[in-house]
Symmetry: C5
Subunit: 258 residues, 5 copies
């Protein structure tokens, strides 16, 4: 779990609620029909704009953004070098036993194909295909959140226009103008909060998560291909280390030179 | 037919109507001249911005978005492998009879060309050309809906400006200011609803539909080319399976390994 | 002439005028200084933003958008095949007489170069160069209309700000507030109408026109190159037909197969 | 000097001043602190957003946009062909004297390198490098003007918000509300005028100027390379003429054919 | 340190404060809860939108933008030529001592690898990798500032909507309407100032800094590769000088020709 994400989300909402309480009452800011219009309307539009099966995955996508565990690339390279050593020492078939202890299904699938003696081109094609499917899923999740970040303010504006018309048609009682306008404004507020304190920042986060995971899996693909072709574990390490952020790499480099 | 689409469209409109009824009367929100200006003006501008023949296809495009039947890619691959088996067993000419039972005109056209002994380059060129025409038609449909999503709010704003000027010129009777302003605001509301609850979400949907159908037809082209070149049905399957989403592919993979 | 374009333009303007008459008087919406500011200011800015020689071509560009005659691609292919037959039967020099009856200066120029025995590379380079010049001219026309679609609303807003300041400085007479504000709003209305009912839709139209004409000329270039290299008329037809929209092509296809 | 540019700039400003005088007094539109905030603030932000050395060149960039002399490409090609003839007749070294009469430093530098016997690859690299530096400078100038077109309205809005707060805090004297609001609005007007009647149109113009000059220098590079390789003057002309706009080229073509 | 940056930042803020003091009191513009909402909310959203480790580096990124020292490319090329001379004269191993006097860790690392006898492909790969990491870090810094430039105004608007609702609910006391509205507007002002006088201009600056540093390091990489391959110092200079802005290069050129 990622404390920054939780802290960010709770922090932003706490500040909004606190700003409300600093000058008024929370009750003033709750308008049932307005909330239903903005939240319900945005969700309905998501079902119009995206296939139902995909909208249902939206919650999974959001949950992923919160509970995603950044995996260590250093550790991954060490593991891949370790598998290369086993393959070099005992033959590639001996990796079959090793796969039982590996958590990452993507690594397992790759090594299994190498053990089964699949053609290198096929292994690479199958793994790249899976990687592209992942990228597609991520970019679809991001585009859904971006769409929510557009449609929620739009429905907020629609609600405000509806509220303004109702208020303007009821101007006989001047004392109702203020509250009527306040209610009309609320849906714009709901839309702005949904977009800027939920949908758009999570979309930003997802884009970043995606590029991290793509790097991670690219290293796995290169590693499996290197192991499959019987590369020396040192060569495997050297090839994979070029993907490391440079500070980590430089450290390793000086170590090696020492 | 796609229940999600219908549910999304009806849901969004029901919520808007319900929000109106929660605070006022539906009659307040109906302004004949305003509706004619926004709806009619947007349609007229579509005829200015796009050739008439294309605007007329807009309804067909929208209908397609609603009644599009997602086709199973698994099923398609099975079919293509089946045709490959027939061609392998009885010669490619024997596919002539099979084409009578095939629904998809695109598959029929491809196989027919293979049966007729056309050059592989020509078959691929003709089928790719048809695929690009499809992509063009889809992207034209999307760009029309995007244009509608821009021009409808613009005409809503024009209507509101017209209404405001009329109201400001009639300020002798203060009791008319409220209703006059309400009427002026209505066209902005119409434009926002047309854009955000019809045009833009359907444009999003169309983009997604298009990429689904492009994948479907790409698999058909690869399959026909593979059958034409006399590939073994197993090879045909292997080639086409690389287009499958990875979860489905992995399942097949383990099956094959078992 | 294109009826859709005329219908669209007249329709949109008629609806705006009708909406004005439905609630007020056309005189209220005419403000000489405001019109001069928005129309004159936008035109002046066009001369600042684009070379004078190009701004002067703006009217020609707009006229083209209205009077452009969509040319039949089917007919073009038939013609090119016809020229190929003549070249095949009587030698390429015999096309010299044919060029006298051809309307399209682009085809004439291409065939003339082929008759003169120019190198194929030179013919292709010269014709492609002319095509790129056409694309440049079209995209320049579109970018001028897009600029007009940005600067007209900007000058509308400048006019409204000027009007508001004047109104606010004259608030001694409350009865003048309404009309003063109405006048101020008018320039925003002018800017919105110029942008959304003239400049931007015509820019959209131009983009479409351009891609149609590029396709048309690309087919001419391919055809001339094919004739020049002495291709069989059937091969010329087959090469050019791959540019046809698929429905038309499929029809031809079945015909050929029959 | 370019009359269109001057006419455009003066025209737009004259119209704005005239619109002010048509309804009010120029004095109402002058607010010292507001002008200093918008103009000064925008300039200060330019120093924050761009290196000081580059901001200082902004005036030079703007002056260039006004006093840029469109050079004739026809004339350039004639000159290059003329140099090719000299080189052909008297040897390339004889061009050394010719360079004294050439105004354009870019041509001189290219020919000088050819005369000095530099490697063709080096000549092309050095000249292309200089061309890319020019493109960088132009695009930097454009991006500065675009930034000014964003920051001036932003500071206009900041000024208006400051003015509104001051006005709202001083509402004891109702007669001051109008003038207070008028003053507040002025900075938005200043920002809009700076952006739309100075910065953005000049940025548009610069983009166009840049592409003209890039074409001009590209022809020079091709010409120098062609002269250096000892091409026949006719071949030099033919190569360079493919860069001409097609109308001019067609004319030449028929001449040549005649 | 960069005086332009400091001057720009201080200048813009001084002008804003001065504009406030010209018409009102600084106290009117300080609203504790509003500041906490906009500043705190934007920061919280940054933690939601970006990994915590990266947000923490934001201050470092901003500091870099201010204290970045533009390095002389002329001087760099002289140094690289100097190292090439040493390598040529005393063998590449003799550079080992030289590295002790070099400040730039990137040059040291490159030369060290050359001295250690690493493969040229590996040196280039490692250095390019480090360069791409730098580009990634810079573009991440820019995208964080761009996000701040979007979220700060969004929270400003949220604060204003909250303030407006509170004001509208408290309309019993008309004397409080002005100050209530003033307070509501303040958060929009805070958001606009944070975006336009801090975040967005620094993002612009960072983009420029990044391209300067990328050029600097590209020259280092080319230089090290050239030294490693034993190039003549004159060739090293000629290769690196092609990266110089053209004015500087021309000067050198004439010098060399003299």
């Amino acid at each position: 779990m990622d404390l920054g994400t939780i802290f960010g989300l709770l922090g932003a909402w706490t500040l909004i609620v606190w700003a409300i309480l600093a000058g008024g009452s929370l009750v003033w800011f709750i308008n049932g029909p307005g909330m239903i219009l903005v939240v319900g309307g945005s969700i309905a539009i998501m079902f119009l704009a995206f296939p139902a099966s995909i909208v249902k995955s939206l919650f999974k996508v959001i949950r992923n953004a919160f509970f995603f565990q950044s995996k260590s690339i250093e550790k991954l390279i060490e593991d891949m070098v370790h598998y290369a050593e086993i393959a070099r020492r005992n033959g590639i078939l001996s990796l079959e036993n090793t796969t039982k202890d590996i958590d990452d299904a993507f690594i397992v699938r790759g090594i299994q194909m190498a053990v089964d003696g699949s053609e290198p081109e096929l292994i690479e094609q199958v793994m790249n295909n899976e990687l592209e499917n992942l990228i597609d899923r991520h970019s679809l999740g991001k585009s859904m959140l971006d769409a929510l970040g557009r449609y929620a303010p739009a429905f907020g504006m629609i609600g405000t226009l509806v509220g303004l018309v109702i208020m303007l048609m009821n101007m006989d009682d001047p004392s109702m103008i203020g509250p009527g306008m306040a209610v009309a404004i609320l849906t714009t507020l709901y839309g702005a909060v949904i977009a800027n304190a939920i949908a758009l920042p999570i979309a930003d986060r997802l884009a970043r998560r995606s590029s991290e995971e793509v790097l991670y899996r690219t290293i796995i693909i290169k590693g499996v291909m290197s192991i499959q072709s019987g590369d020396n574990p040192r060569v495997v390490e050297q090839k994979l280390r070029t993907f490391l952020p440079s500070s980590a790499m430089a450290a390793k480099d000086q170590e090696a030179a020492a």
